[in-house]
Symmetry: C2
Subunit: 151 residues, 2 copies
DNA sequence: CACCACCTGCAAATCGTTTGCATTTTTTCC
DNA sequence: GGAAAAAATGCAAACGATTTGCAGGTGGTG
């Protein structure tokens, strides 16, 4: 666990990402490349709006929604729900590598990236005891960050 | 873990719930009582809309939103985010007892209530290593239920 | 039983997200 | 390198969940 760091995995090259997209039989368009690049630069999960403003309006917000949706189903990005009604996304390594969780401050929304994922064996247990297949999980932590504690 | 059962904890009396509300220095109004009763009867987490229709329009949808919000901050109900953009709620025992998780079918949205909560010691670890205080968590599982697997 | 703070109903506003359609871009193939 | 087909984009409008302003109604306290 790394209380201060940014995204745990080292950043992949933009080329690597675009290659992955092409291999999925998807077109490489300017918005998609730019979105991947924006996510590559971001340290924390980004909302559609954040991505859109990082792009400085180089493409439409609707395109961000459509592209991120495609990137998600292509397995290039992972969605996170941090409690407010806003969806956020981070790059995901190949074969699902890079799966992790977050710790969010209830007061100031500061986000800490947590390195380890504890639950893989839990997924197994849940799957075998319920009969469900392809079990995944979503886990986030919430608390009050040091700064907000003293404030 | 109970793959087939409904809410794990036995249902509290409606009187018990209303008493808890009164003790929090909140008024006991008809809509609030009815909402608590609807949640008491429901086996799975209910959305505002579901609660509202369980009440057969005896109060306004906006009142459901306002009341559930109050019940949540009073610690009487707990919110669950099951992945679609819809918030769902279940009764929560006193002192936070009754905390648990769900397993949701990606195809048909069937929900399984999971009895155990694995993460309390994780909260400790996350808290001490990050400096955050009052750490809680949200954990849900997703998969494909037996029926949808064969379909 | 009267009063006051609080709550409700109603309707409109807000916010995130999706969608229809005409136009532009990417890719493929010659 | 260029034309044609398939797919993606921009724009604006639609949508669904949730919130809010305001006028009138209600709970519980003295």
């Amino acid at each position: 666990m790394d209380p201060h760091g940014a995204h745990p995995s080292s950043k992949p090259l933009l080329e690597t990402l675009t290659a992955r997209l092409r291999n999925m039989a998807h077109r490489l368009t300017t918005p998609r490349r730019d979105i991947l690049d924006a996510l590559r630069r971001g340290a924390h999960p980004m909302s559609h709006r954040q991505i859109h403003s990082a792009l400085r309006g180089s493409c439409d917000l609707a395109t961000v929604y459509r592209s991120v949706h495609l990137l998600e189903s292509a397995g290039l990005v992972q969605r996170f729900d941090l409690g407010d009604g806003v969806r956020r996304y981070e790059l995901l390594g190949e074969d699902g590598h890079g799966h992790h969780h977050h710790l969010v401050c209830r007061r100031c929304d500061r986000v800490v990236e947590l390195l380890e994922c504890f639950a893989p064996e839990l997924e197994q247990r849940v799957a075998s005891q319920s009969g469900y297949s392809g079990v995944t999980h979503r886990l986030e932590f919430f608390g009050t960050c040091p700064a907000c504690q003293s404030a």
